[in-house]
């Protein structure tokens, strides 16, 4: 179980905060939906112990992440920066990381092969020489092979073809423990309709709601009473409401388009 308590993050003191007092609790299968630059990845970095919070706490199974050391299996992630230890080929990375993180290399290879990354190919490429989609498959395979109590997947569907997306969506539904998937794509609401979902805009988290409730709601400008969620983006207030008014969230395809909806 992962809990964020009033989390704020600022990379440099002159810059705008990336996270602004985020409160959220992730248990079971969860979605974190937000446009690019909203703070999704930063929130994952805080839970991974990589970015220190300016204020607040990130708790993993009740323990402050800043105090955790040597806790094998407590958390796994597909953040690519985590897999940047050696100047070795991708195959050696799988074997090395499986050993260090307590993962199963065969499980990782099986997953990667299903997404088109064969072992021979991995022997010939460094991780940073893989294409965007291949690299995503590589890091996601490594993260899932750990079977951690908590798994964070950052945009796992990005740059995958539709058939692979569908296979991965099915695969993720069978992951045990807490799994948090972040994405800016709204199609995930359909296959994951029973997942707990938070929206994140400009460093502020909104929720939780069931993905199915978001699937059936429409985006309108302004504050509406009894809205499923009301959030702010670019200084404007939006509400997700039931009924016929506004556009279905899935019609936006990506949450980046909320900003376009706010124009005019």
């Amino acid at each position: 179980m992962l809990r964020a308590e009033n989390l704020s993050v600022q990379y440099r003191w002159r810059q705008e905060p990336v996270l602004r007092g985020v409160n959220a609790e992730f248990e079971g299968r969860c979605l974190l939906l937000g446009p690019n630059g909203s703070g999704k990845t930063t929130l994952f970095r805080v839970f991974s112990g990589l970015t220190p919070p300016k204020t607040g706490k990130a708790l993993i199974d009740g323990e402050d992440v800043t105090k955790i050391f040597g806790r094998v299996g407590a958390l796994a992630t597909n953040l690519p920066e985590v897999y940047n230890l050696f100047f070795l080929n991708a195959y050696d990375h799988v074997v090395a990381y499986s050993d260090i993180l307590g993962g199963d290399p065969d499980r990782a290879f099986e997953f990667m092969e299903r997404l088109g990354l064969m072992r021979d190919y991995l022997r010939k490429r460094k991780p940073w020489e893989l294409s965007g989609g291949q690299r995503k498959a590589f890091t996601t395979g490594l993260a899932l092979s750990v079977r951690a109590r908590n798994t964070l997947l950052d945009e796992p569907f990005e740059q995958l073809d539709p058939a692979k997306k569908a296979w991965l969506a099915e695969k993720l539904s069978s992951v045990e423990g807490t799994l948090v998937v972040n994405t800016h794509e709204t199609w995930v609401l359909k296959p994951f309709r029973d997942w707990v979902t938070y929206l994140i805009f400009e460093g502020r988290a909104y929720g939780p709601v069931k993905a199915g409730d978001l699937l059936e709601s429409r985006l309108v400008k302004g504050r509406v009473e009894d809205a499923v969620i009301t959030f702010e983006a670019s200084g404007k207030v939006f509400s997700l409401v039931r009924g016929e008014e506004g556009s279905p969230l899935t019609e936006l395809v990506t949450l980046d388009r909320v900003y376009e909806a706010g124009m005019g």
Partner: protein, 276 residues
């Protein structure tokens, strides 16, 4: 014990960039020292075998340390850039901060020995090619051990600089910060002309040239100003070799301890912060 050390070793001996700094750059300095900075034949310059021996001893003592310092520059930058991964595996992997440091060191030591070997044998081989005289040091194992000791001290200096930059979140300081190892190397190099006196025992790496001189020539060297001593142009205070060795060992222990503390304290440097 994980297999980190094994993969670190594999990384070090297959990493083209590390090899270029650790071997290519060393060879460049060795060639410059022997073929450009030294006279073409000992007889022409009025040199006897003893002088060639002194020249080789200086090559080990100062060129060796300078070359190791150059290799340490790449090490700092590498640690800095992999800070995310290092941070993550100490939290959620089988390696805590102390065991990561121990395994990283174990994996790196083999490459330090390799670099020391390259310096030793290339100085010997190229000196022979230049002057036709094979001058073996008085204690070759001692010379190799001293070169490895220099590499170990520089490894910890490079590690601590990277971690200190991360802890202080001086994320733009990596290019300047990584050069600190080289600056330390040049401070030690300055002892060819000047003597730090007893302060040399307090400067990391500074007493190592004396150890190298001793194992190369078999005579007690001074505490600094080695050219003055080798040419017999002046009198310089003799070094206490036991104190020199103790100082080096204490520096290794202190720097390793600092590395553990900084690894526990340090976060990681993200791509956004690096401004890449």
């Amino acid at each position: 014990m994980s297999r980190y050390a094994y993969y670190k070793l594999k990384d070090m001996i297959t990493n083209v960039e590390a090899l270029a700094w650790g071997i290519g750059f060393i060879e460049f300095w060795v060639i410059m020292w022997i073929f450009v900075f030294s006279p073409s034949s000992p007889q022409e310059a009025g040199w006897g075998e003893a002088v060639v021996k002194g020249n080789i001893a200086m090559a080990y003592s100062f060129l060796g340390i300078l070359s190791m310092s150059s290799a340490a520059v790449g090490l700092t930058a590498g640690i800095y850039r992999s800070s995310f991964a290092r941070r993550f595996i100490t939290k959620f992997g089988r390696l805590g901060p102390a065991s990561l440091i121990a395994e990283d060191f174990a994996g790196s030591i083999a490459s330090i020995v390799l670099f020391a070997g390259v310096i030793f044998f290339s100085v010997e081989a190229l000196s022979y090619a230049r002057w036709g005289t094979l001058v073996v040091p008085e204690n070759p194992v001692g010379v190799l051990a001293d070169l490895v000791l220099a590499g170990i001290i520089l490894y910890w200096i490079a590690y601590d600089i990277a971690m200190a930059l991360i802890v202080a979140r001086r994320v733009r300081g990596v290019s300047g910060g990584s050069m600190l190892s080289l600056i330390v190397g040049f401070i030690v190099y300055a002892q060819l002309w000047v003597s730090f006196g007893k302060a040399a025992y307090a400067v990391p790496l500074a007493p190592v040239p004396a150890l190298l001189m001793y194992h190369s020539l078999g005579t007690y060297p001074p505490i600094g100003a080695y050219l003055l001593w080798l040419t017999g142009a002046g009198k310089v205070e003799a070094i206490d070799l036991r104190l020199a060795a103790l100082s080096s060992i204490l520096w290794v222990a202190a720097l390793a301890l600092i590395a553990v503390v900084l690894t526990r304290k340090g976060g990681a440097v993200s791509v956004e912060e690096l401004g890449m």
